[in-house]
């Protein structure tokens, strides 16, 4: 099982989960247990990636489900040329791009406001050991909202690089494999994404980023 995915909470993982080739064979054979294990292993990271790209929990939940449906349908075409996780994230990125285009068109015609973070106290994890005071937690959420809104406003091609690198903390090698872009292009887009984000966040905060 890849180190970056959530282990099963239902006891030790079966042996086939440790070997990706065996896991894929079971998936191709439509083994239900293997597919459930796959969803459980990747659902958090896929949801986190999609929600940061799209900025709405409801849309992201719907999209994350669609990602796994596509994985189920297309697993027979997976040739093992990349890691299974890379292939899954590639599907997630492509579906998110399509959904973003659709939502942008819909918003421009309907003027829908972006979803705001509206969570009951205690829903979110404290950001750091120091951030336990209610005012600090509230300030932390407000800052998250500002940064999230700025991410959604970035140009889509810049946004994917920034989310994969700065939010999901992926290596350049992984980003190149997922996006299919040359490393130089990834670095350049990331640099421009950060510059755009800095400008947007500083405008919203009314002060410089420290």
């Amino acid at each position: 099982m890849p180190a970056d995915v959530r282990p099963s909470a239902e006891g030790p993982a079966p042996a086939w989960m440790e070997d990706e080739t065996l896991w894929v064979k079971r998936l191709v054979a439509r083994d239900e247990a293997a597919f459930h294990a796959l969803v459980r292993a990747y659902e958090r990271r896929v949801f986190a990636l999609v929600v940061r790209m799209i900025g709405s929990r409801a849309e992201a939940e719907d999209l994350a489900q669609e990602v796994f449906v596509q994985v189920f349908k297309a697993i027979g075409t997976f040739r093992g040329e990349s890691k299974l996780s890379t292939w899954i994230y590639r599907i997630a990125i492509n579906l998110t791009k399509n959904r973003t285009k659709y939502l942008t068109a819909r918003r421009s015609s309907r003027q829908d406001p972006l979803e705001k973070l509206d969570l009951a106290p205690g829903d979110a994890r404290p950001s750091s050991p120091a951030a336990h005071r209610p005012d600090e937690v509230a300030a932390g959420r407000q800052l998250e909202q500002i940064v999230q809104d700025a991410i959604v406003k970035l140009e889509p091609t810049f946004r994917e690089c920034l989310v994969l690198r700065d939010v999901e903390d992926m290596s350049y090698e992984e980003i190149v494999a997922i996006t299919g872009l040359p490393e130089g292009t990834v670095k350049s887009r990331l640099h421009r994404a950060r510059a755009q984000l800095k400008e947007l966040v500083e405008a919203a905060l009314g002060e410089k980023i420290t």
């Binding site: 459930h36 969803v39 459980r40 659902e43 958090r44 896929v46 949801f47 986190a48 929600v51 940061r52 900025g55 929990r57 939940e61 719907d62 994350a64 489900q65 669609e66 796994f68 449906v69 189920f72 973070l117 969570l119 829903d123 979110a124 994890r125 404290p126 950001s127 750091s128 951030a131 937690v137 932390g140 959420r141 800052l143 998250e144 909202q145 500002i146 940064v147 999230q148 406003k153 970035l154 140009e155 920034l162 690198r165 700065d166 939010v167 903390d169 990331l190 640099h191 421009r192 950060r194 510059a195 755009q196 984000l197 800095k198 400008e199 966040v201 980023i209 420290t210």
Partner: protein, 88 residues
């Protein structure tokens, strides 16, 4: 969006650190939804739709059965009455 002012490598790293710090609260990400249940529901629905598309859905297969049965009875009747004069 117009091109923002360029930033140097040091500032770029500062923005990365700021983003990671700001999003570490994870209010948008937590609690994660149960994706598996939704996926299972969609796959079941897709399978049902596919069966319906092939004309093998419950109500359609019953209809097809009745039509085929009626056609067989009709063919048997035609054969019987067609061959009856030859037998006599």
């Amino acid at each position: 969006m117009s091109d923002p002012p360029d930033i140097d490598a040091h500032e770029s790293e500062k923005v990365r650190a700021f983003v990671r710090r700001a999003l570490s609260n994870g209010a948008l990400v937590h609690p994660p939804p149960d994706i598996l249940r939704g996926v299972q529901r969609r796959l079941r629905k897709n399978a049902r739709d596919e069966l319906r598309g092939r004309g093998l859905g419950k109500s359609q297969s019953r209809q097809a059965y009745v039509i085929i049965a009626a056609a067989v009875v009709l063919l048997a009747a035609i054969a019987y009455f067609g061959l009856l004069p030859l037998i006599r």
